[in-house]
Symmetry: C2
């Protein structure tokens, strides 16, 4: 408890220093009669690349100046400082809040004008991303949370805000994964699991929880409710990094499922600056794979045909540098050749617990069928 | 534990009997050389009414026959029986599943034809609703779950599937409310709270949890992530019904917030047949109210103006029989006259914890400001 409190104070102090340094720099610029400026790493695709050696998507070194004395930049400059000020306030008070709240915190009518400091949330969100990358700090470290999604059960005990949570005894609902899972909020007390199984959908998670799959296979079972939230990604990262657990990702067989896997493994293009604290290069794809169509004799049905959007997305993904491995190229090609996609739920046509009793045991006994 | 198991067996037996009775009736019809038929209560608006005395939205008595020997009805008749058969299978095996899974369970190509038993999930969903209302059984009792949404903390201990959950010690994440919360799955062990506070948004819930509002005010704090899921509604109903707790609903000040409140209180039009097991007529609306604009000096801002959709929806709601009380008519009129809507988050412009330290204490000290 004492250590966690100490960790939390250390983090707060470290982040507060970065924020106040940013302010002091601006004051120094003003004292020297120069335009205050921020040097912000560029977040566009042009500055994003795939680091093959580390196997993560990374932000490059390009930076752009944001000047106060520039009619095109002055407002954004002000907004960035308003966001920084609001974050400082959160840290000073030891409170967390949502990015929607942040928008209202920085929004006001500029005195003696009809101009609003921020027009809509997109503006404060963009400034927050700029701030994160400029001072190299996750938004969670700035006490801001994203939406709360996902649940967890399994052989792990943790302390969340002082409460001990035994994830082996969380009933049918499970532990609700919070958005902020930094070590000073969530401390791992005991991890006895052999691996992490992250599933795309809550319905599949509930099937596996009801069947106590995590008990039989001694794992930690999480879902992210579709594209996993930042909290879920960061928690999976911590299991992989701190407890050295293997990570398996179970998604639908469609381009969206592939992409969910790749975000867990290599990071995302939009949030490339966070890959280093979120990506899990050792994650493995446990299906569904296009080859499972024949392996498990899955239904061949008009309604499961890839539509135009699916096909376009699959072709796009096929070109991403992190999908260039031979087996991924053939996987995507096979899906396109088959012209079919499969939801995990399609396995239910073979029996309600087919996934628990047949599919997953088969995959774990045949690791060569997993994609890396 | 033994009692819960007994309850579960009783429920299963009772529902299985209804399903087999339905099958036996069809067989009797065939033996008598009559067309098998189902008599299905009509679920359209024409058969829905507001029961003023009980203060809930109810389904009327109109029924419609669904005949097997009728070219327009034969397929739907078959689908309804396929869904009933799948539910029987779930109950026989003691397993639960999602309505997406149900779709795959009943989907197959009809032998010697190119015809699919069901084309898409909308068809199996509709048949499920028909089945629920025909045999007067909630889908949760048929072992089907809807999407999982919502979290809970507070002065309550419960047993979920054999695990004891102390909702006072659930950290920042909270207990993830499952979709099926029937007494044989979720048993209340100890409830020491004075009331239930249901908030619309998870961000607001987290603010109140972080500030430990539920501890200071001795309540159970839930959110439903927008329009509350069936699990959340049913749980709130059980707190109100079994523990006789008061229920307060905290939403945004817009027509969607009003409607969320009314669904908790009177039930919904679409699921009128479930009001009796879901609606909580004693629920009170704790805001935001249009009068709070002046009470709390809320910002007057272009971006908060009601848009066309808001205005149309407000006018529609104003006509609903359950919004005819004088104070609701003036509330909606005032919102329309102001031309403004307010998110709970708008209170953050007054301070991060304004809602915990000022707004809610003010409302609880001034119950006349709550709307009934």
């Amino acid at each position: 408890m004492a250590r966690r409190k100490k960790d939390s104070e250390d983090r707060t102090e470290r982040v507060l220093k970065k924020l106040t340094d940013m302010g002091h720099q601006a004051i120094r610029d003003i004292d020297r009669r120069r335009s205050p400026k921020l040097s912000i790493p560029v977040r566009s695709l042009s500055n994003v690349s795939f680091n093959k050696r580390r196997s993560i998507i990374e932000l490059g070194n390009s930076k752009q100046d944001r000047l106060f004395f520039n009619t095109g930049m002055a407002k954004k400059f002000m907004q960035t400082f308003l966001v920084a000020e609001a974050c400082k306030q959160l840290l000073d008070q030891g409170k967390t809040t949502s990015i929607r709240d942040l928008f209202y915190m920085v929004k006001h009518t500029i005195p003696n004008s009809m101009v609003e400091s921020v027009e809509d949330q997109a503006e404060s969100d963009a400034c927050l991303e700029d701030l994160e990358v400029t001072i190299d700090t996750l938004r969670e470290e700035l006490n801001l949370f994203a939406s709360n999604r996902g649940a967890m059960v399994g052989n792990v005990t943790l302390i969340d805000s002082g409460d001990t949570i035994d994830c082996r005894r969380m009933g049918s609902g499970g532990y609700n994964i919070p958005s902020i899972v930094e070590p000073d909020v969530i401390e791992f007390v005991e991890i006895n699991a052999d691996f992490v199984l992250l599933v795309e959908k809550d319905a599949v998670w509930r099937r596996l929880n009801e069947d106590k799959f995590w008990k039989d296979y001694n794992c930690i079972l999480l879902h992210g409710g579709g594209q996993p939230s930042r909290g879920v990604r960061r928690l999976v990262y911590r299991f992989a990094d701190e407890a050295k657990l293997d990570v398996f990702v179970l998604t639908d067989n469609d381009p969206w499922g592939y992409y969910i896997y790749s975000v867990i493994k290599q990071g995302s293009i939009n949030l490339a600056y966070e890959s280093i604290r979120m990506a899990v290069p050792k994650a493995k794809f446990i299906g569904l794979s296009a080859e499972d169509k024949d392996r498990f004799d899955l239904p061949n049905d008009n309604k499961l045909r890839l539509n135009k959007t699916d096909i376009a997305r699959a072709r796009q993904i096929k070109k991403y540098p992190w999908f260039q491995k031979k087996h991924w190229q053939s996987e995507i090609k096979l899906m396109l050749d088959n012209g079919m996609k499969y939801e995990i739920e399609a396995l239910s046509s073979k029996g309600i617990s087919f996934i628990t009793e047949e599919y997953l045991p088969h995959k774990f006994s045949n690791p060569d069928e997993m994609l890396d």
